[in-house]
């Protein structure tokens, strides 16, 4: 396998509704990544599109719909998706295109338009359930995550305020992000604890917002990358893993599939002790409790220990183990697949020292990004190195 480098990244504004079509959003993100890398469409060997369920955009054959905006016309092209896991899975697909040698330069574009679905993007999630057992109960996805959060809190005896700290940290971290939808410099734990209860224990400020947006990443073989960059940032390891779809037959307190994916990525990256060797992480945080569960799944701490590290300030941007320095989904927004912008582009910006106001001060060398999807069952992990 060849080593793969990241040479450019781009992302659009994230908002509840953007005027641009999916193609136009793809174009804007791709254009920024191309400018960053200093390449043109002719330099691209292959294009990978990541976009989550078709039901959001309401356009089936969504990959085909988006491709001309993703610089893919007359190129080898593929769309990949596994729900919320897509934002990290799409760059993994990009990685195998380049690592295998079939492409020297591959573009990864992720797009989501959740603003098209009415009465609410939640309606689209109905189409992801089992039609016989889950749908007749008029299930809302938030109910499922509320149940998962409740299980996690009960098993480890975690207080709600220790979970709310994550929302506060991430919305504050997002203040330095030009694309952010919900940055909030002044938010407090009380604001989260006093926000509307939508499905106990989930309150309104525990949840990331639905968003429109796109992001893009340009991958290149390490050899060729030296043509564009002095010290390329490389992908050191990738991993992915999925658990049984029968979610009512699993204990939801721990994401073992994330742990499996992390072990696969760490093995490839030659990481024996993730707690010591990893400098910062971008775990998937569509809900505040998910950041904590995913830190545990990524083996960055013991089961039930993540809320304690958060309380002690370890996960702050200037802490020992900065978590979600981008502002995460909670602060920057959650256009499902396009969260590649926080989970992978941010690793690149941080490792390259290009994160500006968001820059981790301690000169990070290794970062891990992770996403989570399908029906609480998919873990996708990427490790990047300077």
């Amino acid at each position: 396998m060849r080593k793969v480098a990241v040479i450019g990244a781009g992302m659009t504004l994230f908002r509840r509704i953007l005027q641009e079509t999916g193609k136009e959003l793809s174009f804007l993100a791709t254009k920024m990544a191309m400018e960053d890398a200093g390449i043109e469409k002719k330099d691209l060997d292959m294009v990978i599109m990541g976009s989550a369920p078709d039901a959001f955009d309401g356009i089936h054959l969504k990959g085909e719909n988006l491709l001309d905006g993703a610089a893919a016309a007359n190129k080898p092209y593929v769309r990949v998706f596994n729900g919320g896991g897509t934002g990290v899975f799409a760059p993994i697909a990009g990685w195998w295109h380049v690592a295998s040698g079939v492409a020297d330069v591959a573009l990864v574009v992720c797009e989501e338009k959740m603003g098209s679905c009415f009465p609410h993007p939640q309606t689209a999630f109905r189409h992801i359930w089992d039609p016989f057992l889950d749908r007749p109960l008029n299930t809302n996805l938030v109910w499922l995550f509320a149940m998962e959060m409740n299980r996690y809190m009960t098993v480890h005896n975690i207080k709600k305020e220790d979970i709310a700290r994550v929302a506060v940290k991430n919305k504050r971290n997002a203040v330095g992000h030009p694309c952010a939808q919900l940055p909030d410099e002044n938010i407090t734990i009380d604001d989260v604890l006093n926000s509307e209860v939508v499905a106990w224990p989930v309150q309104r400020l525990d949840i990331s917002p639905p968003s429109d947006g796109a992001s893009a990443l340009i991958l290149c073989s390490e050899e060729k990358a030296k043509k564009y960059v002095e010290d390329p940032i490389t992908i050191a390891g990738v991993g992915w893993n999925i658990d049984s779809t029968m979610w009512t037959n699993r204990d939801l307190y721990f994401p073992r599939y994330v742990a499996n994916a992390a072990k696969m990525a760490y093995k490839m990256a030659g990481i024996d002790n993730p707690r010591k060797e990893i400098d910062f992480a971008e775990p998937y945080d569509p809900f505040d409790y998910k950041e904590l569960q995913h830190m545990e799944g990524l083996l960055l701490c013991d089961k039930g220990e993540a809320p304690i590290l958060t309380r002690e300030g370890v996960t702050q941007r200037d802490g020992n183990l900065p978590i979600c320095p981008s502002g995460g989904l909670l602060g920057v927004g959650n256009p499902i697949a396009a969260t590649m912008g926080q989970k992978v582009c941010e690793l690149y910006w941080q490792l390259a020292g290009k994160a500006g106001k968001r820059q981790i001060p301690t000169d990070p060398q290794i970062g891990v990004g992770q996403a989570w999807g399908d029906i609480m069952q998919m873990g996708t992990v990427i490790v990047m190195k300077r």
Partner: protein, 178 residues
């Protein structure tokens, strides 16, 4: 050559924000679409039998002889042993609350005043943590807790249709649990 610049990336944030008011006032053009597609999903033998048994007021599971699981919802194969399951087994209509939520949000994310009590119930007679999602009733939201013993409340026989909703909800099981 890219250099380690101190300025922040992304350097700009392209995109045009549209408010709901813009849409209501038709400041932006749009096309409205209502999909009219109908589906008829094949349930397969396991779920078909499971729902037919609910119509009879019974909960049925499948057993895997290799891993010794009693599996509900039933399936014709064991996804872990990756072999066909071996036999049908009636189990009880009582169980334990594995987890729950008190939802003030309906399926379309509309706010509701009277909360929906929803959770996962592991069914007595099945393997640990084997069960399904359902509603709770005949209890106050504050009574609901993980580990609570509950029992199915069935619709009257005439109203049952062979659906998961043939069980109306689960209620507290008197004398059971902590």
């Amino acid at each position: 050559m890219m250099s380690m610049k101190k300025e922040g990336y992304p350097k700009y944030a392209p995109g045009t924000h549209v408010s709901r008011k813009d849409i209501r006032n038709k400041n932006k053009t749009y096309t409205w679409w209502e999909p009219e597609v109908q589906y008829s999903w094949a349930m397969g033998p396991a779920i078909s039998r499971f729902l037919q048994e609910l119509k009879n007021g019974k909960i049925i599971a499948r057993c895997c002889n290799k891993c010794d699981r009693v599996i509900v919802p039933p399936r014709m194969f064991c996804e872990y042993c990756y072999k066909p399951t071996d036999k049908w087994l009636y189990i009880k209509d009582t169980g334990t609350v594995e987890t729950f939520s008190i939802a003030y949000l309906d399926g379309d994310a509309r706010r509701i005043k009277d909360p929906i009590l929803i959770g996962v119930i592991s069914i007595d007679g099945a393997s640990p943590q084997h069960g399904f999602m359902h509603y709770f009733g005949e209890m106050k939201p504050e009574e609901l807790h993980i580990g609570m013993k509950v029992k199915a409340v069935w619709k009257p026989e005439k109203e049952r249709t062979g659906a998961i909703t043939d069980i109306k909800y689960f209620k507290p099981l008197k004398g059971g649990g902590k």
